[in-house]
Structure formats: C-alpha cells, structure tokens
Symmetry: C2
Subunit: 354 residues, 2 copies
C-alpha cells in the first residue's frame, strides 16, 4: 500500500462544509452541547454517521489534555488473579464508556517507570496500578498525582496513606488461613511469605501470627520463610529449607498458590503425605488449585471485584474533585484436599511429624 492510496479521515471540517455550518457547531453538536439546536444536532449526527466520521481522539486529547482511557499497570498479566482483576476493571470501564489500556511491569521498577511515562504521555484519564514487587519508593507516581490524574492502587498497595486504594483484608485472610489449618489439627504451622516491605504480605504474616497467638501455638522466626518472587522455583527452595528444620511443621500457609503448589509437589516427592503429614493452604484461588492432586485449599481472592471497585473509584475521582479513598474487600477460605484431614481421620492415620 503506497502513500497515495491512504483514505483520508473525515473531520468535523468536512462535515461542517457539507452542512454549510461552522466546525465549532459540528463539534458541539456531536458532544450534545446544550447551545445547539435540536435540528442542527440531528443533521450533524446523521451526516456524521453517513460519512463514517470518527472523532480523532488524539486531537481531542491534545486540546482537552485528557483521553477516555484508563491505564492499568500490573506486574504480570498471566497471573490468574491479575487477569481477573483486569477483566473486572474492563467490564466496569466499558459500562462507563472508558477504554482500558494494559501494560505490564514484569515486577521491574524500571519498566514500571517507563510504562508510567508512556501512559502519562498518552494522557490516560486515570491509572490503576498493582505495584512491582520491589517498589518501595513512589515518587515516580507524582507525575500523575501532581497533575491531578487519579491513581488507584490495587492489591499491591503502597505504604502511604494519602492515595486511593482497593485491596483485600490481608490480615483477616492470613488469620483465617492459619485458623483453618489449626481447625484441621495442625499444631506447628509454617508460613511461606512474600517480602514484608509489601504491606499485603506483611499483613498476611501478621494475620498468621495473630492466629498462632490466639490459639497458643508455637511461634518462631524459623517458621517464617520469605520468598523474593513467590515463583515456582522459590516454592521448591522454601520447601527444601523447611525440611532442614529440627522439627518439621505439620502445616504451611503460603502467600500464594504458585509457591504452595510447588512446595507441595516437592514435599510429596520427598515422601511426605499431604494433608496427613503436612497440610498446605495457598492464597488467591488460582484455577490450577482444582486441577492438581491433591486439590489445593486456598484463600479466595475477589480479584474481579477488586477491578470493578478500582474503576468505580476512578469514576468518582474523575467526576468530583480528586478524593482519597480506600476500599477493602473480604476473602474466604476454600477448603480442598490439601488441608482436608477430617475425612482422612476416619481411617487409621499415621502420626504427624513433629
């Protein structure tokens, strides 16, 4: 296709000259401005439709310094709960007449910064962010905040209070997960956690500790093992480390499903029975939890709802003056095979380790 063949876009000027009115009238008619007569509006819209007019959003954005686009910046789009979050946000955004643009940071701060610049460049109307794992300096978001562009942090939220956020109650979730293990008879419970400078992992850990304390169970720093990435590789590493302990725990609360599954596989390969010897509960309720054997108990993460609420906050911030707000959603335990000791106890059971 050579240059000359390119179709030229229809502009408001084309419509204006054909209707023998001014471009400003066309613009206002298309935007349903009150000052334009009903007849004129109808005529403009009719012709616009006929001619296949499509507003040049670039020009519009240049003038208004806005777009009808919400940027979503996440760590990895292939994480099930992240894509659910996006799906929820897309749904809500679409209903409100907004488009959504997605970028991923691969958990890398530099990419986070680069994407941020890009999204700022295309003048997204608002931004929904799930932070990169390492991020603990938030100054690169000032570009948006200083310009009054709403930023909503979702799930991986920053440790500062003067920003809008949607998240889950990680403390309660950690507590519930641990309590669930306790209810299944676990006496010595380990925790595979994410880096505690991310509040969500810290809170899950706090919940875990609180449950131990409430039930008068042993707490010890050696029971908490941290993962940098919460990846499958890390899961194996953590499980290996777990097995070096003097007393092997009989329950593990993992900060995500990926680590839980990987650890479970490794422990089983080493001859441990799950849940009899070691019960395991994950976090997020990824679809894979139901596909493995034993199926993985986990905390259900309302990721899709989180996305919807994030957009709801965006819309509020866009309509009114910029408001700070935090929405916190609840989670619940999903019991599956990896912690289901009740049934097993029907049959004679070999005694737990530790």
């Amino acid at each position: 296709m050579s240059q000359e063949d390119k179709k030229k876009d229809i502009t408001i000027y084309d419509l204006a000259s054909e209707l023998k009115i001014s471009a400003s009238t066309v613009s206002r008619a298309l935007n349903d401005h009150f000052s334009i007569g009903a007849e004129t509006k109808k005529a403009v819209r009719k012709l616009a439709k006929e001619k296949g007019y499509r507003t040049n959003v670039i020009a519009s954005s240049l003038r208004t310094n806005k777009s009808s686009t919400i940027g979503i910046m996440v760590t990895w789009i292939n994480r099930p709960f992240i894509s659910s979050l996006i799906a929820g946000a897309e749904k809500a955004a679409k209903e409100a007449g907004y488009q959504v643009i997605i970028t991923q940071t691969h958990d890398d701060i530099e990419m986070e910064k680069a994407n941020l610049k890009m999204l700022y460049g295309i003048r997204v109307s608002a931004l929904i962010v799930s932070l990169a794992m390492e991020t603990n300096d938030y100054s690169h978001f000032d570009l948006f905040l200083d310009n009054g562009i709403p930023v909503i942090f979702a799930d991986r939220i920053p440790k500062k209070s003067n920003v809008s956020m949607v998240n889950i109650n990680n403390f309660n979730a950690g507590f519930d997960a641990t309590q669930h293990l306790i209810d299944q008879g676990c006496k010595r419970i380990a925790h595979f956690g994410g880096l505690p400078h991310q509040t969500l992992y810290e809170d899950r850990c706090f919940g875990y500790k609180a449950a131990l304390k409430k039930n008068n169970l042993y707490e010890g720093e050696e029971l908490i093992i941290y993962a940098n990435q919460l990846s499958a590789d890390e899961g194996k590493r953590l499980a290996e480390q777990l097995l070096t302990l003097d007393i092997i725990p009989d329950g593990i609360f993992c900060a995500n499903d990926t680590v839980a599954i990987s650890a479970m596989k490794y422990l089983i390969s080493q001859g441990y029975n799950v849940p009899e010897d070691i019960a395991i509960i994950g976090f997020n309720d990824d679809p894979i939890c139901q596909l493995i054997n034993p199926t993985l108990s986990t905390i259900h993460h309302p990721a899709e709802k989180l996305g919807e609420y994030a957009v709801a906050q965006v819309l509020l911030a866009l309509e009114k003056d910029y408001k700070i707000a935090t929405t916190t959603l609840d989670t619940y335990v999903v019991q599956r095979g990896s912690t289901d000791r009740k049934i097993k106890q029907m049959k004679p059971l070999k005694s737990n380790i530790g």
Copy 2:
C-alpha cells in the same frame, strides 16, 4: 488536588524562549535533525533535561499521524501461550524503541471491533492481532490496511493471503502429535478440535488425518469432535461424548491443553487409565502440563518467538513500504506421562480397549 495546583508541562516553547531560539529549532534539535548545529543541539538537550521536558506524544501524534506504539489485540491475556506471545513482542518492541499496548477481545467480535477503533483512534503505529474465535469476516481491519498501518496476524490468522502473518506449522504439529500417539502404540485415535473455520484448527486436523492415513489407521468422522471454546467445560463434554462411541479410542489428540487436561481428568474419574487405556496429547505446552498427574504430553508452542517475529515484521513494514510476509515456525512434541506407554510396557499391561 484542585485545578490550580496542577504543574504545567514544559513545552518546546518554554525551552525555545529560555534559549532565545525558535521552537522549530528546539524540535529539530530534540529529533537530532541534521540541519541543527551541534552546539545548539547540546544546549537544547541540556536544558530539556534540566527542565524535565517530556515530549507531548499526543501533539506529536496529531501532527505526524503516528505514535511509537504497537497495539496488541488478543483474545485472552490469561492464556499462558498468549501472555508468552505478548512477552516476546514486548521484549522485541522495547529494543526497537516502541511501546506496547495490550487489549483483549474475550473472543468476542464486537469487542474486537471496538478495540480496533480505539487502537486506531490512538494512532498505534502497527497492530499485532490474534483473532477472536468467531471472526471470519475481516473487513473491520480495512480501517488499518486502507490507511497503510501494518497489521500482523499472529497464531490465529485469517483465511486470506494478502496480509502479514506469523504462525506455526499447524499441519506438521498435528501430524507429529498424532504420529507420536501412533508411536506409542495407539491404534484408534480421536481428535478434539477447535472450530475448523479457524485455519489453525483446521490445519491441525488435517495433520491428524494425514498421520492416520500414512499409518493406515482407521479414520472416521465420529472420531473428530469439535469444541466451540476449547475450554475446560468443553473438555469434559467432549470426553463424555467420546465415551458414547461404540469403540472407545485409545488415543486422543487435543487441540489445546485446557481441553486435554479437563478430558483427562474426566476419563480418569470414569475409571480409565492414562496413558494405558487412553493416551492423551495436548497442544501449547502450558506450564500446568507439568503440574498435573499424569503430566501432559503436548506440542510445544513457540509463543514467545512468535511475538518476537511479529514485531520484527512490524518493524520491516514500518521502515519500508508495506510488505506482505508470512513467517511460520516449527513446533515439537514434548513427551510426558500422559502418552508414556513405553515404560509401562515393561510391566504386564492390561490390553487396550478397542
């Protein structure tokens, strides 16, 4: 944050007036135009850096009718091989100085059209597309093609030849998968396929048939069962349907892993042994293949490479006049537990059904 507080962006005019030169010179200096003196360029860049100047890509796009952004439109970002494709494309795009914007169609034609308009609206420089399942009319892409904006179809490609594409050799893949089952001793092989109006599924099916023919095995239309969505639910449905056949096949080639896994689970739940009674091979090599029991044999899909090649074609199309080209990559069989009959045959084996 109220309106008045907003920081104003630095423009080339700000730089120009401070340096007492014209805005055009600033613009050219920043773009390294040959006609600008080295001294001037240095001074402009220095001040730009100091002042934190950031080019307004919206204004630039308006003027040039281009952006430095590549749009990627896929069906579902949470499919492992799709996110790999995106990762590959992002990597290649980044190296070439392009940004990437992702949208998903949820396999819905209307969303495909809406996203297309949006991406056109923000003047992406090029588009990489994996088609929605139902798409068999491609006229909505004319908006791009008629305007000389490169469109590269990836993986799910259209049934027309005058467009650029990157894909895998689905015929060979289907052949290899089937041949692999045959090599494992399967005599009667079923195929769970995607809708054949998508060429990739059609080709896999052709490969399947060709392998049967070459090995003089029974071919019958009842052995081919089509799925609309290739989802887990469908996988179960297809397996149920398979069990209604007069003679139960001893091997299944599934058009994706999701269906394969779901079908396998169902068959095992019905008392069949995999791979002894029925061997199963999937397609894509999703990570989950290694996590289930038995592990799933599959066709490795070079999705990430596909993404890289797609961007390579974009860059070619952008540099030169728009060229049509097709890149086809090879796949290979990954043998895992679900087809591993050789080892089992060491021990006495109950005879295959059918």
